[in-house]
Structures are given as C-alpha cells and as structure tokens.
Symmetry: C2
Subunit: 194 residues, 2 copies
C-alpha cells in the first residue's frame, strides 16, 4: 500500500505523466520502494478513481496522447494523514540470512559464493545510495531541486536534512551488510583451515 504514497510524494511536487512519473520514480523514491511501470499505470488509475489524483489527456503530435496527473486536495490530505499514521512494518522476510543459517549443508566454496554474492548485491545498492547522497549534498538531484523550488525558504533546510539522513541510513545499512559478508568469508577460511 506504500506505492500509492510513494507516487503521491513525487506528484505533490508538480504534475507529471505516467511515463515521466515512472522515470522520476526509478531515480528517486524507487531507490527505497521499487515498482515496475506495469504497476504504476494501473495504480494511477486506481488513485484517480479514489479521487487522490486527476489525469488530463494531452495530445502529442497528431495521434499520440499522454495523460498528465496532478494531486487533488484530497490526495494531499491523504498523504499528510498517512505520514502521521503509525508505520506498519512488514514481517521480516530475509532470504540471505535464512540461507546463511544453513550454510553447513553446502561446501566451503558454495558458502564463499553466497557471501561474495551478498557483497556484490549490497555494493550495487551502496553505489546507488551513495550517488544519491552526493546529489543531495550538491543539490544536483533534479527531483530535489524541483521540490525546493516549490518549498518556502524556512522549510528548505529540513527538506534537505531529512533526505540526507534517509540516504545516510541506507548507506550505513549497505556498509553493514558488506562488512558482515566479509566476516563471513573470513569465517569460512578459518573453518576450512582448522
């Protein structure tokens, strides 16, 4: 159910077509809440039915159209209300730690493969999140710039500060996973040696 609010968060900055939304999405909120375009288009339609957004068809060339969505007052209220509601945490479902707990059932090399894969996976995320963090510090993230353009001066420091701490948290998590997996590799070496 968070997809809806992730989309509202972006649309609140200004109207966008489904296509543009999806592109902005994958370069911003998509870093913490992934969604494919095949999920975004239908969700926008549902949000329109619920009165949270309104879409207008615009013509593009002679035959093509694009549907541009903007947030309604009800949509804005719904977003703020959600932000103030206690967050529903999802139950833990962590395939990597599930597997790690049973590595005794495979060879040392297979165990190493697992930890190496874990490092590769989290280094990928780390790179993305660190990149975002740099863009936040430099004010070189287009979404953030657009947002700041519609934000009162008093509110700007907060807007930046919360984005920064968010990505700092993600970066630290990724670093933690990588450090853990490196220790995993050392453990495998020790077990094999002794």
């Amino acid at each position: 159910m968070s997809l809806r609010y992730a989309l509202l968060a972006i649309l609140r900055v200004g109207p966008l077509s489904g296509y543009d939304l999806q592109k902005q999405f994958s370069q911003s909120v998509g870093h913490v809440w992934h969604a494919p375009d095949s999920q975004i288009y239908p969700e926008l339609r549902k949000m329109e039915e619920a009165g949270l957004v309104e879409g207008e068809d615009q013509l593009r060339g002679e035959r093509a159209r694009r549907r541009v969505y903007h947030v309604t007052e009800a949509g804005d209220r719904a977003f703020i209300e959600w932000m103030q509601t206690p967050l529903e945490y999802q139950r833990v479902r962590d395939p990597a730690h599930l597997r790690a707990a049973y590595l005794e059932s495979v060879s040392y090399d297979a165990a190493r493969e697992f930890f190496r894969g874990h490092i590769a996976e989290w280094e990928g995320e780390l790179e993305q999140w660190r990149g975002e963090l740099v863009h936040i510090e430099n004010l070189s993230n287009p979404m953030l710039v657009r947002r700041l353009a519609v934000t009162a001066d008093v509110d700007k420091p907060r807007t930046i500060a919360f984005k920064r701490i968010t990505y700092e948290g993600l970066v630290e998590h990724a670093l933690g996973e990588i450090a853990w997996a490196r220790r995993g590799l050392e453990l495998v070496d020790e077990l094999e040696a002794g």
Copy 2:
C-alpha cells in the same frame, strides 16, 4: 518461494507434524522468514504434491489425527540445490526510509513519533535476535540441539558457527537501525532549535 526451503530446513532435522513444525518455525527460522500457520499447512500439501515431503496420518486419541511429515530424498536434493543456487534478492521496499525521506511535510512532533516508532520496532527485533544468539552460544536452543544430535562431530563447529554469524548479522542490523533513528531524533531537535 523461500518458505518452502525454510520448511525443508527444519524438517531435514527430523519428522514433524504441521502443528509442531509451525511452533518450531516461529521459534527459529521464523525469526528471519515469517509465515502464519494458514500459509504453512497448504504449503506442506503442495510440497507433498511436488514429492519433496511425505505425510502420514497418525491417530491421536480416538477421533483426532495428526499428519506427520518427513523429507524425501528428492526434498533433500532440492534443498541442497537451492542452497547452491545464486540467491534471488528481493527489490528494496522499505516503508520506513520512504517515510523518512518526506518528514519535512509533517510537524516536528510527528517526525519524532516516527523515529520513536522505528526504535521500538527494531528494539523488539533486537531482543528476539539477541535471545537467539544467547541460546546458540549456550546450546540451549532446542532446534539446534536436535540438529547437532543428527550431525557428525566434524560438522558441528560449522553448524554452530553459521548460526552464530547469521544472528550476529541480524543483531548488528537492528543496532544500526536504532542508532540511525536516535540520530534522527537529535536531528529533529536541532532543526527545531535552530
């Protein structure tokens, strides 16, 4: 799809009824892969259809029955094969960091509420995982004891070591989330002050 392998991991230690499995589950693998009983019973049936486990109905008293499942050779092979297959990581979908990125749209108190809730959530997980870690160190976890009972002496150190590093990783993650949220609270104080 990991539920299947989580269930196999437990059943490989020895036969269990759906009910007992579910109890063992919630006290062991359930810490990293949650599943309600309403999901476990049908999954066991599906695994039986797939030939991974076999169930036998046992009588309990006069009228009641319980179905005891054990892993087949095919089930054992499937588990080992899965353990050696590159892990499919799920796309990031993190409602807490999604929300954190937009805290400028609510009051300082609402932002504090969010971070406090985050701390409470992760302290809950931390307690569970730390408890497990203690049970692993003391060999006071019944599942681990049963597992060691069917494990060759040479393999025992590994079996313990992988469980330990798994829960250490989880504990560190929880500590990281808590430290992050505490910094969040400090940030809110600073923003409100200056």
